[in-house]
Symmetry: C2
Subunit: 323 residues, 2 copies
Amino acid sequence: MGGDHAPDEIVRGALLYREKGGPAEVLLVGQQDRLRPLLGGARTGVEVHHAAEVIAMDEHPANALRRRSDSSIGVATALVKKGEADAVVSAGSTGATMAAALLVLGRVRGIDRPALCGMLPVLGDRPATCLLDAGATMDADAKNLVQYARMATWFMEKVHGTKRPSIGLINVGEEPEKGDKIRLEAHALLTASDMNFYGNIEGRDVLRGLTDIALCDGFTGNVLAKGLEGALDVVQVGIRGDIFGGPLGKVAAAFAYPGIQKFRHRFDYDQYVSAPLLGIAGVSVVTHGRARANMVRWAIAVAERAVSSRLVEAIGASAATAA
Amino acid sequence: MGGDHAPDEIVRGALLYREKGGPAEVLLVGQQDRLRPLLGGARTGVEVHHAAEVIAMDEHPANALRRRSDSSIGVATALVKKGEADAVVSAGSTGATMAAALLVLGRVRGIDRPALCGMLPVLGDRPATCLLDAGATMDADAKNLVQYARMATWFMEKVHGTKRPSIGLINVGEEPEKGDKIRLEAHALLTASDMNFYGNIEGRDVLRGLTDIALCDGFTGNVLAKGLEGALDVVQVGIRGDIFGGPLGKVAAAFAYPGIQKFRHRFDYDQYVSAPLLGIAGVSVVTHGRARANMVRWAIAVAERAVSSRLVEAIGASAATAA
């Protein structure tokens, strides 16, 4: 029920996931009288689980969850807790999804704070870079950053098949002595760890795909991720208006059509924007509020891979050893 | 002597500034045997002031400055201190320029920490947005942020002629209760101030030009500014390679030529990237290490406007009242 285009595009995304051969069965949690008509006849592997209420974007997440026991995100997360579902996926309020994950599923033992793990499309050979924390936790410390690095390492290995993923610490310069107190401490801890620590990277290195993992606190990560998204949006407006806007531009667009498709495909966010919430004792995936069917499809796929690769179990075992 | 294309492009920038009618006289501070030949005959209003040494990008700025009294940035900054120059402009190491500014010129009374004030090209009616701190100070607190806001207000009024510039606090959400401890405290202080505080803005709002001033700590500002720059670079590579790369793309490029020029002009950084160091008792302007002549020209113009508008004096008077 969450997101700008819910429930229509969410339902279409679930159906698309199944049409493309996705192995997971999908439970649509929400108002059944609105969901069922959207399913039509083609409902194999897609079922409806009724939940009467919806938490709006402007509500205080934890308060709303406590006050209303029958919200779609609360019910969906509870299904995971009860073992009736393996993962929860939401395009609704990130705060509400996180609050539900924390309240209902709880944290992995040994992990102090959760992190949102966003994927970014990048240039170069890497398919994508994992940016975390993209905004789950405010006021993180160096120890939190090291825990994020460990969780992201497992995430890239398990879900994306990356062997010994490299970790870049987002900082204001490459040299180890650069940065604020948190970064200086985190740099030392990561250097001493057994992880594949590349060293410091800068804001400009993230989209260049210098490392598999771009590590930062949730405040910086949220501002940077939204900043990059905004930059790509602004540029697209510029390309459409300035370059292909006028009469000559329209002719140019006809000739450039295959190239434009190639460019669009490169910066196609749909596969990437689904952010698993790491550090939670269960699989919870947040996708973009603007998500349409194709993005929802990929979010379900990410959740399925996290479950089938036993990501949460790996993080739990590793955190227990490290703690 | 500083920057990737020094001294050739720096000298060309100084000459260009004068050719375009810039009123300030320019002193080129550096190795005279390298600088004089570049001036040729056309040297009206552009003179050379000899300094034997150069601080390299990889040196520790403060140590290098103390060790070598005859570095170009040290000598140039000392000229400002002695009143033989009104402002210093550098494309060299930001750290060295800042260290020289702090050691030689010192801070404005009532300002605890300096801030780099970067300009960003934006969509919409505003010509540009001022982002600060872009990386001068690590571990800033809420009180520092409020001082930055006051300095940026004067900067936009004096140098850019913006009446009562609006201030957006970069945060993870629009609501006043969003953010980390620093942001929560800064939001309250700014709301209670007499400045034109818009409220919280998000990373994606910066390039959209939602406010005249985008306010943040130096760590976040540096990561965001470099991230946005990287995003625009990555997109340009994509446009050149994907859209206009193949044989059809080349035909398209011919038709799209006027539009491409328009697009380039919109995201032309040259006018914007010069960052004055606010909070210093003198005018010190840092421009990009990649600066070529046109960018150097604009950096000199920004310095001249800061001097002629008496920006430092305004900040000093305001800080004395607020303190």
